[in-house]
């Protein structure tokens, strides 16, 4: 039996432009040819991997190594600069700042978020008690979310997201806020997900959680895929690096970080990236059509303004 491919990254790059001024950003927008004459920060560099259904993948790495950028791309919040991402099914991202509306009550937030996931009233009514029970919020559910503790907020966010039944679940350090009893329950819930053939990406600094929960892991190091393989092996290598790094003197640590960061910044010199001919033609056609419509408006406006 072959497993179905769920997520595939093919040579994915994500670069953030380091604009010196807001003005450059604007000019970039209106230039007909994309000019690459600027500094870029390459947050994710040539990452490729394949993940099949029922797999759970831990993502480890230092702060600022591009883990969250990858998780945002998995959730399709941001688009890669180049490369291809194929995702079969719906993704759901759980981050610490889960998108809850602070002025609404917990109950209303449940309804709103479920609605935005395209559920109908019946489904929402059916799921709401489960969500409340899972989040262990109790009577506070009728209070506005702004009165919640940060743990309650992340529990609610997590509870809603797992109950929307996504195909691919991306958990971005969302468990680090809850206490260990809640984390335990989440892990059980995720195990249940795994059994049902869902795919889970798990980003965490807790080596124990990654080890116990994920069979596969990848180590992202300053934007590059350093290693991908079984969770134990990756963890071992990662821990080796951590202990090596911690032994360095403060000055060496600083130098190492500065070296790695500068390797991520690239200045592309005055290179002009040609847009495909089809896009160019389409853009010109649209510009002409809009221009024609605008001139009709201007003509009618002139007639009106002159008082005919």
């Amino acid at each position: 039996m072959t497993k179905q491919l769920k997520v595939e990254f093919k040579n994915v790059y994500k670069a953030f432009e380091m604009h010196a001024k807001q003005k450059e950003k604007l000019l970039e927008l209106f230039s007909i040819e994309r000019r690459k004459q600027r500094k870029e920060f390459v947050a994710v560099k040539d990452v490729s991997f394949k993940v099949y259904e029922g797999e759970s993948v831990g993502i480890v790495g230092l702060n600022g190594s591009g883990k969250s950028t990858i998780s945002n791309m998995l959730a399709q919040v941001i688009q890669p600069t180049s490369g291809e991402i194929t995702i079969n099914g719906e993704t759901n991202l759980i981050a610490i700042s889960a998108g809850l509306n602070n002025n609404l009550t917990g109950l209303e937030n449940i309804k709103l978020k479920c609605m935005m996931h395209g559920m109908n009233d019946e489904e929402i009514d059916r799921l709401t008690p489960d969500i409340i029970e899972f989040a262990e919020i109790g009577d506070y559910i009728k209070q506005p979310v702004k009165n919640y503790s940060s743990g309650m907020r992340s529990r609610l966010g997590f509870a809603i997201s797992v109950h929307t039944d996504p195909d691919v679940l991306v958990i971005d350090e969302a468990l680090s806020v809850g206490d260990s009893t809640f984390a335990q329950r989440c892990l059980e819930k995720m195990d249940e997900f795994k059994k049902r053939g869902k795919t889970i990406f798990f980003i965490s600094h807790s080596a124990a959680q990654v080890k116990s929960f994920c069979e596969k892991a990848m180590w992202i190091h300053y934007g590059e895929m350093k290693m991908i393989g079984s969770s134990d092996e990756v963890q071992k290598e990662y821990q080796k690096f951590i202990s090596y790094f911690n032994k360095l003197s403060a000055k060496e640590k600083k130098e190492y970080k500065a070296k790695m960061l500068s390797s991520q910044i690239s200045t592309v010199d005055n290179e002009i990236v040609k847009r495909p001919e089809v896009v160019k033609k389409r853009n010109i056609r649209h510009l002409l059509a809009s221009g024609l419509m605008l001139s009709i408006v201007a003509f009618l406006g002139a007639l009106l303004g002159l008082g005919y």
Partner: protein, 274 residues
């Protein structure tokens, strides 16, 4: 060309349930902290109406009625016919244009078309508008106005107003996300438009030269407000001025086409511009 317009409109139609439900949540969330709750939706306009009536009706006009082609009308009523649509148009434009910037972070994590965001703001504001319209009709009735056959065209003008707001906020919300200065500019412009539209004074009353009144007409909100008065006072049918009719709809269609093109082009990258 029109494919993008159709795509955006189809998204609205497919998710119409969601639009109404999200709009009702918006209203709920807005007034939750207030003791008087959604009563503020009516207290705010009442305060503004009374100050405009005091300054423009009593202070500047000295209580004189407005001369229209349908006879003299008390300034208070004349003003209400313009102000009530304005109380809807102005917040819809400002909030609708800001909506994408405000919410895109939250909705981009879900399977949710961003083009609904301005529409949700428009629909959220329209509840207040319809209630105020009913109140206006009651006031008119108390003053002894009886609706004429011309009144049916109010449906047409309400449609025109929604079409214009939809097209405008779609374009505007895209620009506003890419260039933040635009929102500032827009806020000042909206304040200006209040005084450049026939809401608090009548540009056709001969106080300004005719060419000035002709140029002021080019503002599409002028068309909508005058249309509302035409329906209430029974002055004119909307097809009696074909040039103005074509101008307004050509204007709306053009910004709708440009707006939906721009929206579809940039919406994948909205988050990068935050």
């Amino acid at each position: 060309m029109f494919k993008s317009v159709w795509q955006v409109i189809k998204e609205q139609l497919d998710h119409r349930d969601l639009i109404f439900r999200m709009a009702s949540f918006d209203i709920k969330g807005m007034y939750q902290k207030h003791y008087l709750g959604s009563l503020w939706q009516f207290i705010n306009p009442a305060i503004q109406v009374s100050i405009y009536w005091f300054v423009f009706g009593l202070g500047i006009r000295g209580g004189q009625p407005v001369e229209t082609s349908a006879g003299p009308i008390p300034f208070f009523l004349w003003m209400l016919m313009g102000l009530i649509p304005w109380f809807f148009i102005s917040p819809s434009i400002i909030q609708g244009s800001n909506s994408v910037y405000q919410k895109v972070n939250m909705v981009s994590k879900m399977n949710f078309p961003v083009s609904l965001l301005p529409t949700i703001k428009i629909i959220g504001n329209s509840l207040q508008f319809f209630i105020l319209m009913i109140l206006l009709m009651i006031v008119l009735f108390i003053y002894g106005f009886t609706p004429t056959i011309y009144f049916v065209q109010i449906v047409y003008y309400i449609f025109a107003m929604f079409a214009f707001l939809f097209a405008f906020t779609l374009l505007s919300s895209t620009i506003s996300t890419l260039v933040r200065d635009y929102q500032m500019l827009l806020q000042s412009m909206v304040r200006m438009i209040l005084y450049l539209s026939p809401i608090l004074w009548d540009p056709n009353a001969g106080r300004v030269p005719e060419w000035v009144a002709n140029i002021l007409q080019l503002n599409p909100i002028f068309y909508i407000i005058e249309g509302f008065r035409d329906s209430f006072l029974g002055r004119e049918w909307f097809f009696e001025d074909p040039l103005y009719f074509f101008y307004f709809w050509m204007f709306t269609l053009t910004i709708l086409v440009i707006g939906s093109r721009a929206h579809l082009q940039f919406r994948k990258n909205f988050v990068d511009y935050l």
